[in-house]
Amino acid sequence: MIRRIRTIIGVIRGEEAQRLRNLRGVLELLRPYRRRVVLMFAALLAATGAALAPPYLAGRAIDDGIRHHDIGALDVIVVLFLVSALVNWVATYAQTYLVNWVGERALQDLRLRIFRHLQSMSVGFYARRKTGVLISRITNDVEALDQLVTDGVVTLFSASLTLIGTVVILLLLDLRLALVTFAVFPLLAIGSVAFRIASSGAYRLTRETVAYVTAYLQETLSGVRVVRAFGQERRHQRRFAELNDDNRVANMKTVYLNAAYFPSVELLSALATAAILLYGGNQVVHGQGVTIGVLASFVFYLQSFFDPIQQLSQLYTTYQAGMAALDKIFELLSVKPEMVDRADARALPVVNGEIRFEDVSFAYDPDDPSTLALEHVDLTVPPGQTLALVGATGAGKSTFAKLVARFHDPTEGRVLIDGHDLRDVTERSLRSQLGVVPQEGFLFSGTIGENIAFGKPGAAPADVEAAARAVRAHDFIEKLRDGYETEVGERGGHLSAGQRQLVAFARAAVADPRILILDEATSNVDVHTEARIEQGLRRLLAGRTAIVIAHRLSTIRGAGRIAVLDGGHVVEEGTHDELVEAGGHYARLLRDWAEQAAA
């Protein structure tokens, strides 16, 4: 029991420590802009102070001006009134501008920091996480912070200051009348907080239900061909109406809550007015210190007493959402990069391109070495040779390729290029001599030219075109309406699979790497493109050391050497002819395929 309590306390302490760390992190973000922050607070103070003046001045106008028939005093008060209104205007402008400037700037910095941090992460880190989750750290979570940093901070300070200021002024004006006025305070505060808590749940439900409505709409629009082909429109309409109704029911709850809360606050305000008039009026009549002007001031101040309490209660939700976002962001930022250059890492000199695997084993999960993706692989690829990796899904082909690019370090053994252990050289110097062609020809948004130039910093248009010519991509690019300036669309969506493949070849070619890693596409393309890809590929491979995850027979046949992988082992090695001759795994695969193709 005691232990359990201790654990709970520990958890709470841990949470507190985390909150503290988070807040410190936020302050850290604001530090470069501390001067503007100070200015912002000055403006906020001025604005709040100026906003508090009018009700007081109106009271003084009654007492000093009207009751004493003193037009001079009245005019002085009017001038003061206008001055305070002007100060409020200017100061609010400055405060709004500054808080947004600092807030947006700090969040921009935070976005960049998260992005930079993500870039320092190894490929293994990405493999374990969903893209959507990582993106929402940069977008949704940072936006939730935006609320906290801009609206939240301003509301917190200006509402608190207004509230405190009003309370002090009222107390100074008349202690007893002030206490009578404050009688509604607990009711208003408790009611407001209760309302916010209840409605934050209710609003969350409306957001969730409307998200379902939107997602359903989106999905059935994307799948409209399926819906039509299966004639299921009615069913979708019924389901949509259900989801729509769920949203209506959820919204109705917020209607009930609002209908209960806001009119009640208005009633409280009427109650407070009544109390002030009744009690204060009697005080005035009996000459007990309260003047008509003071009485009027009290009535006028009610608004600046009610508003901040309602605003402060709203902070609760903003704070909750902001803190949750902070937790997630700082949790991500606290993950240490797994692969960093050693302190004594050297730059890899220009290589010939000999790749050697020395007794290499690798497990994706280092805690579970029983799931080895590669096991005791010994293999040397001489400079300039193409090695085709052949084997079933999960045989270890892509793991092999990833180790050459040093996306991971081997669990055991060494991977060497020209005799340099990859762990001893800097990542940058290795990668700058490496080219990669991914399987589905991943392209970045932008033009074809930009995508090719991606391979080489500062590539000139001439380099881009030369590379495209080299891999036979130039012909099709030239035929496009905008040539190299053609936008490829999201993920290259405007190009066919074969065209994407050719652009990816050109991108690798422009880098002119010594070592090439290529994951051959499995998708079907039409005859003409197929022929072009075959030629382009041959030219791309010529003269480089290449590791090819091969799927096409022509590629495999053309390779200098074939390694057949099975369950993380290299089970066979040699040229096409040698392996056919040997009559082992490879020969069997080939025979099976031929039978099937003929079937």
């Binding site: 009018p54 947004n100 629009l221 994307s222 109705m252 899904t393 991914p438 069997r588």
Partner: protein, 587 residues
């Protein structure tokens, strides 16, 4: 204006509730406006040394309670109306979209359509649901308060009300200017998101080419653009909000100067002075609200025009009323000089004549763009031919009930779209009442049962965007199962096994062959193994039938087929096959 009138038409089913809520709002606002007046009266009583304040305070409390009651009732009635309008609008839009033919969606980007069905619809429902009520409420408050003020002291009322039109104008202008500015912020955040997404999805390439700097520069540029645009929006807010807050102070200053003098001269009482001050503060918020609501109205009309553009689009693919169901038969398919073009584009099929006897399996081959997919899309009547006609078992497709036709024609498309639902629900899509045994049987035939059974949640595994991500081959097999459960008379496999690896294809080949036995089947495929299943092969070239025949006949007769067969077909993936499973493959 016409759009506006049509928008108001959405309120028709609720007209009584609308009238009631306006009436309730009128009483509530009237009671609210009464309060400053009573405060003034009370203060005058106090000024005259009277202590009989209870009656007036009692009236004030009564007004407060009246306002409470009527406000609660008004919110409940108006809330119900606005939610009802929202519900109706969404359902109406959705039902309408479901009635439109596939060709309509080809011409639209899903994003555009989504934006109309969500953003524009929201602008409309906000206005109809809340905006109108805001306007009514604000106008009632302003009129009643102005009326009281004018009745008490027209001159002072003129001065106190002087800033009102300016507040209205500024609030309206702010809404109009800020709207595009903040939309642009959202747009730039979307760009930033896309940039981040690309860097994360393409991380292997970025790392492999050591281009982290480039990505960082681009991302940094994107954040800068967001910042700059936020500042545009901030400047507007920083200017307008304090300005709108400042204007009523001019009215207050006017009341102080002129009203103060009048009070000194005894033209008005102190109580009236206090009441005027109270009215000016009371009016600030409804006037501002009115400005915002007028902006809303303007937006709603613009959005409404876009919404009506969709709602007014008549469905073009309909069956005649009381169309008979597809007559019974074995699936004889006839195309008579069929030509077809997508939308207003060039023809992709030219005068195709094709008679396929019931039970026959036909493979359709041809280069990309030769019209294969277009041809098979006509059979479930996803599109209508521009010329010629198609019949199944003697009935012209245009004369039969659409639902019955689509029940009998099963299409497995190359891009297998699955819904975010369980695997069971996806397979049973066409027949939600299918038993577990039927679902499993369909899955077994499509070669996906073993995989599904091996999942921790089995057939209850949720797939799609919000669930488990299946590989292309797995998706294709689920979608084959989804079609098989319909037991269609005519089956279309449009490149349906392109992502299924060779081993699995071999596994399901036997099952496929059996499936094709009792029905008319159209197969589009690239692999010889797929094409080998066909009784007959149709070679398409530029939308025309270039040749027909068996594999051997065509090798002899058709140059095009020979080229496709020699270059395209054999050189396909084979080495992904698992050696251990050769026996399973039965080869």
């Amino acid at each position: 204006m016409k759009t506006f009138a049509r928008l108001l038409g959405f309120l028709r089913p609720y007209r009584r509730a609308v009238v009631v809520s306006f009436a309730l709002a009128g009483v509530a606002m009237g009671a609210g406006v009464l309060i400053p007046f009573i405060v003034g009266q009370t203060i005058d009583r106090v000024r005259h040394g009277r202590t009989d304040l209870w009656p007036l305070v009692g009236v004030l409390l009564a007004a407060g309670l009246l306002r409470l009651g009527f406000s609660v009732a008004r919110r409940l009635v108006a809330g119900r109306v606005s939610l009802g309008v929202e519900f109706d609008l969404r359902n109406r839009m959705y039902t309408h979209l479901q009635s439109l033919e596939v060709a309509f969606f080809d011409g639209q980007q899903t994003g555009q359509l989504m934006s109309r069905a969500t953003v524009d619809l929201q602008a409309v429902r906000f206005f109809l649901g809340y905006g109108l009520m805001f306007i009514a409420q604000s106008v009632i408050t302003i009129l009643v308060a102005a009326g009281v003020m004018l009745a008490v002291n027209p001159g002072l009322a003129g001065i106190a009300l002087f800033p009102t039109p300016f507040v209205l104008w500024a609030a309206y202008r702010y809404g109009r200017r800020n709207r595009p500015a903040s939309q642009e912020v959202q747009q730039r955040i979307a760009e930033l998101t896309a940039e981040a997404e690309e860097s994360i999805s393409g991380v292997r390439l970025v790392k492999a080419f050591a281009r982290e700097e480039r990505q960082l520069t681009r991302f940094s540029h994107a954040t800068r653009r967001v910042f700059d645009q936020s500042m545009v929006s901030t400047r507007l807010r920083a200017f307008y909000n304090p300005f709108i807050g400042f204007l009523p102070n001019l009215g207050l200053a006017g009341v102080l100067v002129v009203g103060g003098r009048q009070a000194i001269h005894g033209t008005i009482t102190v109580g009236e002075f206090v009441a005027f001050y109270g009215y000016v503060t009371l009016l600030a918020s409804p006037v501002r609200m009115l400005g915002i609501a007028l902006g809303m109205a303007q937006r709603a009309v613009a959005s409404g025009a876009r919404v009506f553009e969709i709602l007014d689009r008549r469905p073009r693919m309909t069956a005649p009323p009381d169309a008979p169901p597809l007559p019974a038969g074995d699936g004889r398919v006839e195309l008579r000089s069929v030509s077809f073009a997508y939308d207003d584009g060039p023809s992709v099929l030219h005068e195709i004549d094709l008679h396929v006897p019931a039970g026959r399996t036909v493979a359709i081959v041809g280069a990309t763009g030769s019209g294969k997919t277009a041809l098979v899309s006509l059979l479930p009547r996803l599109y209508d031919p521009t010329e010629g006609s198609i019949s199944i078992d003697g009935a012209d497709l245009r004369t039969v009930d659409l639902g019955s036709l689509r029940r009998e024609v099963g299409l497995v498309a190359d891009e297998s779209f699955l819904f975010s639902a369980t695997i069971r629900e996806n397979i049973a899509y066409a027949r939600p009442d299918a038993s577990d045994a039927e679902v499993e049987q369909a899955a077994t035939r499509a070669g996906i049962h073993d995989f599904v059974a091996g999942l921790p949640d089995g057939y209850d595994t949720v797939v799609g965007e919000r669930g488990l991500t299946l590989s292309g081959g797995q998706r294709q097999r689920v979608s084959i199962a989804r079609t098989l459960i319909k037991d269609p008379r005519v089956l279309i496999l449009d490149d349906a096994t392109s992502s299924v690896d060779a081993t699995t294809e071999a596994e399901i080949k036997a099952a496929m062959r059996e499936l094709m036995r009792d029905r008319t089947t159209f197969v589009i495929g690239h692999r010889l193994s797929t094409i080998a299943l066909a009784d007959e092969i149709v070679v398409l070239e530029d939308g025309r039938v270039a040749a027909r025949g068996t594999h051997d006949e065509l090798l002899e007769r058709s140059d095009l087929y020979r080229e496709i067969a020699e270059k395209g077909l054999p050189d396909q993936v084979f080495l992904t096959r698992k050696p251990a499973e050769r026996e399973v493959a039965g080869l």
